[in-house]
Every structure is written in C-alpha cells, then in structure tokens.
Symmetry: C2
Subunit: 284 residues, 2 copies
C-alpha cells in the first residue's frame, strides 16, 4: 500500500504560517485583502469561492467578492478591473476563468495589475515563474503540488520529475518549479510517444491532463510518487482525478487522492500569495 498524501495537514501547516505573517502585517496597519472577480454563477466557481473565503477567513485575510453579470461587456469588465487595480485596500485579485466568450482574456491579462495578480494571469508573472523570480505568483495548483512534496519531505534533488500536460495553468509552471528544485524535468502531452514507458521512469509523476482515471498502474513503478492534479467527474457523477486511484494505490511509493489531495491545498497557496502581495506592495 502506497503512502496516501492528503492535503489537509499541508493546508493546515501553511495556514498556521500565514496567520503569523498576517498578525505581523496587522501590527503595521496592513490588512491583507483578496478581491474575487466572478462573472456569472458557475457552480464550480461558486464551490471554489466558498472554500477560498473560508480559508482567507481562517488566515485573517479580508475578502470581497465582485459578482458580475454574465452578459457584461469587455469595456465594462475592464473598467471594473481597473477600479479594483487602483483600490489600495486590495492586495490580491483572483478572476475566475474561463471567462464568458464576449470577454477577451488576451486583453484582460495585460490589464490586471501584475503586483496583485495572485493567480498568474499576467504574462509578466508567467515570465517571472520561468525566470524563477521569487516576486512572481506561480499558479495555485502547481505551487500546491510543491507545498505537498515539501511537507511530505519528498526528495527533489536530481530526481526524474515527469509532468503530464503542458497547460499554462499547470504543466509549464509545474515544470519550472520542479526545475528550480533541481529535478530533471520532462513534460509529456497528447503527442508523446511511449508515454507509459516515460512515466514509469519518473520518481515524481504529476498528472494534469484533465482526463478521468487516465493514468493506471502501467504508468508507474513501485518507487513513483504520484501527484494527481486532475478534477474530473466520472460517468456516475463521482469526482475523480486523472489517476485511477484504486488501481494505483498498491503499485507506487506514494499517491495523492482526489478529492482530499492537491486540491485541498490550493486555497492556502492563494492566501500565501495575498500575504506576499501585501508585503511587496508595502515594500516589506
């Protein structure tokens, strides 16, 4: 039986650190605040929002939700965003994506203030993550994976890390974060040949493809640490990851479940970013 890497303890540990930081900021009259921008009422946005609000509250971070009509025009949206950029009480801004069709993310990503862009929408933050610049804000999910690997004391040094998926929200930044920790990093994707063989060579395997239970035990060796980033709903309406947990849990070194794995840590990472933004904006 593999070691089951659950997210709860990690989220708790990160939260405890943040609380101390927030207390210190409050002594300086700085009250970290996250403003969430949500267009419409997508159930998965609402679900993440509830979790985020709860986490911020636990950390002592203030929040504001700006709910916008799903018919909002590009002009109205960008004007609103510029207002939030300017709001000196807001330190972090999270915009739920994907945005409705009439909103052009390609323009919006250049409008959000990079200093408040805690979810790595701005190309400048994408650049900082690639540079390894610590003032940047890597996306929450890959950073949550890193927090988990560190909490569970998984060794990175010179290890083979294989990332399944090359998206800008997980795959690519994940590779950059692993590289920074001295892992030898491979990015695989839909066009990869001999995928199973490559994955079997992984010491750390991060699955971020968005396909329910795609990764089975043929992708693993007994030494693999499997980090499952997928959040899918199967044919029976059950939430599941990109990894077939039941098939894999006896065939590897360690594995994260879905739910209760990586996903449980993302709001803590977000909270950490808000605190970091509050510090940087105040030159601390």
């Amino acid at each position: 039986m593999a070691k089951i890497l659950t997210g709860k303890e990690v989220a708790q540990a990160v939260t405890e650190e943040i609380k101390i930081d927030v207390e210190k900021l409050k002594e300086k009259n700085i009250n970290p605040k996250l403003t969430i921008v949500r267009v419409g009422t997508n159930p998965s946005d609402l679900s993440y929002e509830r979790g985020a609000l709860k986490r911020m509250d636990k950390c002592g971070i203030k929040t504001k939700v700006v709910e916008l009509n799903k018919e909002i025009t590009q002009y109205e949206f960008t004007e609103k965003l510029k207002q939030i950029n300017k709001d000196s009480n807001t330190h972090g801004i999270l915009i739920f994506r994907p945005l409705p069709k009439q909103l052009r993310e390609e323009e919006i990503k250049y409008i959000i203030s990079p200093e408040k862009d805690v979810d790595c929408l701005s190309p400048l933050n994408v650049g900082k993550v690639t540079e390894g610049d610590v003032t940047g804000f890597p996306p929450a999910t890959p950073l949550a994976v890193m927090e988990m690997l560190k909490y569970y004391e998984i060794d990175f040094e010179g290890k083979n890390a294989v990332v399944l998926g090359r998206s800008l929200v997980v795959g690519k930044p994940m590779a950059m974060l692993l590289l920074k920790e001295n892992s030898t990093t491979t990015i695989c994707h839909s066009r990869t040949k001999n995928l199973k063989r490559i994955c079997r060579k992984a010491d750390i395997l991060v699955a971020a493809v968005g396909r329910a239970r795609m990764v089975n035990d043929e992708y693993l060796s007994k030494d693999t640490v499997v980090m499952d980033v997928g959040i899918n709903v199967d044919d029976n309406g059950n939430m599941c990851g990109d990894v077939d947990f039941e098939l894999c849990k006896d065939k590897c070194e360690a594995i994260t479940p879905v739910p209760r794995g990586v996903g449980s840590v993302t709001t803590s990472v977000l909270a950490k970013h808000v605190v970091k933004a509050a510090k940087l904006l105040n030159n601390l």
Copy 2:
C-alpha cells in the same frame, strides 16, 4: 558518418525571406532598424557585433551602434536606454550581456521597451515565450536551433527532445519552443543523475552547458540529432562546442559543427526579429 548540419545555408535561406519582407516594408516607408547597445569593448561582443552588422546590411536593415563607456552609471545607462526606447526609427534593441557590475540588469530588463526587445531581456517576453505567444521574441540561440531543425526537416512530432542546460537564454526557452512543436521535452542540468542514459534516449539533443567538449559518444545513440549550442575556447585556444565533434560525428544521425553551426544562424534570427518588431510596431 553523421549528416553535418551547417548553419550557412540556413542563414542564407532565412536572409532571403527577410529581404522580401524588408522590401515590402520599405514600400510602406518603414525602414527596419536595429540599435545595438554595447558597454565597453569586449572582444566577443565586438565579434558578434561585426557579424550582426553584416547580416543586417545583407537584409537591408539599418543599424546604429551605441557604444557606452564601461564606467557608465546605472542612471546614465537607463536614461540612454529610455531615449532609444522612444526613438521611433529604432524597431529593435540589442543590449550586449553580461553588463559590467555597476549596471543592474534586474532593473534594466524592466526598462527596455518589450516591443523592441528583440533579444528577450524583458520578463514580459520571457512570459510570451512560455505562453507560446507569437508576438514575443524568443532569444536568438534557441530560435536558431529551431530554424536549423526545420530547414533540415528534422521531425519533431512526439520525439524525445533533451535539453542540456536550464539557462534563461537557452535551456528554458529552448524547451518551450520544442514543446510548442510537439516534442516531449526533458530539461537536464548539473544535478541530473544518469545524465548519459537520459541523453541516449534523445531523438534530438541540444547541448547548452558551456563546457568544452563535455558531450562525448556515450551520450548518443545512432539516431540522435545533436544540436551544439556551446561556444567555448579549449586549452589550445581553439573554438569548440559543448560536444566533442570528432568523437561524436560517426556515432549519431546528424550533428552541428562548432564553429559553422548554430552560431551562424543567430544573426539571421535577430534580423527576423527586427523585421517582426517593425511590423508589429506599425500594426502590420
């Protein structure tokens, strides 16, 4: 005997393309121009500069060299750079690096106009390369590798590409460019374990470590295409690559020599970027 991939033909082919583009721009009264900023008189800067000036001339691109005293202060440098940013006749800016110690590249990279930053100094361009945004300017060397691979019709699709080195000027952008062409991409570095074994699995091996003749025939299979990005000087004062050409040339599918390989293509890529910048700046 491996196929020897020389750069000259590639540079020539790229130059021919550029000449046509430049003619079209001139018909619209747009005269593409590169401004080179050089601090001091470093011999390798001067050597690259000569090659670049010659290439721009062949392409019909105007040039200006701004030579600055090596004692120049940060303030003087940034004021000068701001002037060049504003010069509407300049479409591309190349700043030789590394800069002398008193100049802070960490600040300068935020000052250069991203629209004219043809050598990928700005974090915004680093971000665009990671995003795969075609309006960005990937660094010249990895892009020269891509031009060579395409010219010699090397197949990328699903192939294993291994990049040796994780620098911001070669390794990381190289990985992003290969990934965009659907290669399965691995980044290795000084901490990588089993380096030779990993390299032997490569269909395409890009060496960018800056160590004279480090890569020998033990890193190759007979099917490997070896792209040598290194420019080193050996103990006898001879220029050589990161790959031991003599040892490797009979042991792989194809290989670039040093000199006369990838390095011969970088100024053409730079010229291409100047033309692209001129187009984008004029909304073409």
